[in-house]
Amino acid sequence: MRRTLVRLISVAVAVVAAAAPAQGAPTEVHVGARVGYVMGRGWTLGPELGSES
């Protein structure tokens, strides 16, 4: 579980890092936790990363 979480965070960081430099440094950066409900899976929980420029 812990390795999976680290892997997921790494993927999220990579996605944001790849997207952000397109317009220079991001103006805003956010972190968070998300809880979701997918009809076929049930509840999900995990981290969230993002940037706004």
Binding site: G46, P47, E48, E52
Partner: protein, 153 residues
């Protein structure tokens, strides 16, 4: 288990005072987001969301409300890719956004806190439909083109 990431590329489109004397700015941008979810059986699903977002920045107190929607794609091994749509809404709050001054050219950054929600619908695949709620902490540096300064100066 679930993980998500998003990025928005926006431009300031208008700044005015529609809600009293305090400045409100509107930023229109394109949002790209993705999330992975792992089922109990080890099956991995990936959803991608692309669409426009309009964000209102009001100060002060700082209230940021982004509203967006667009196209969603869902991929899962063993299933055909599903195409759908999403709507998203967030509300973020901070009491102050201090301005840089001569004596304090680098004031403390502003941290916004709030919640965001996104609903994704896939008409052809009911089991992919998702409702997500996120708690967000946003780092806002000392200078922000779309947000008026207030407090601390």
């Amino acid at each position: 288990m679930d993980a998500g990431a998003r990025a928005r590329f926006g431009e300031l489109i208008v700044t005015g005072h529609p809600f009293g004397q305090r400045q409100t700015s509107f930023v229109l941008g394109l949002t790209v987001a993705g999330d992975l979810s792992f089922g109990d059986n080890g099956q991995v699903a990936f959803r991608a969301h692309v669409g426009p977002e309009l964000a209102a920045y009001h100060a002060c107190p700082v209230l940021v409300v982004p509203v967006g929607g667009g196209l969603s794609l869902s991929f899962e091994r063993g299933y055909a890719a599903s195409v759908g749509g999403y709507v998203g809404l967030a509300a973020l709050f901070a009491p102050l956004h201090p301005a840089p001054t001569y004596s304090d050219p680098a004031p403390a950054p502003t941290f916004l806190a709030g919640a965001a929600t996104r609903a994704a619908f896939f008409p052809a695949s009911f089991t992919q439909n998702e409702l997500a709620l996120a708690a967000r902490l946003v780092y806002l540096p000392g200078s922000h083109g779309g947000l008026g300064y207030c407090g601390g100066d």
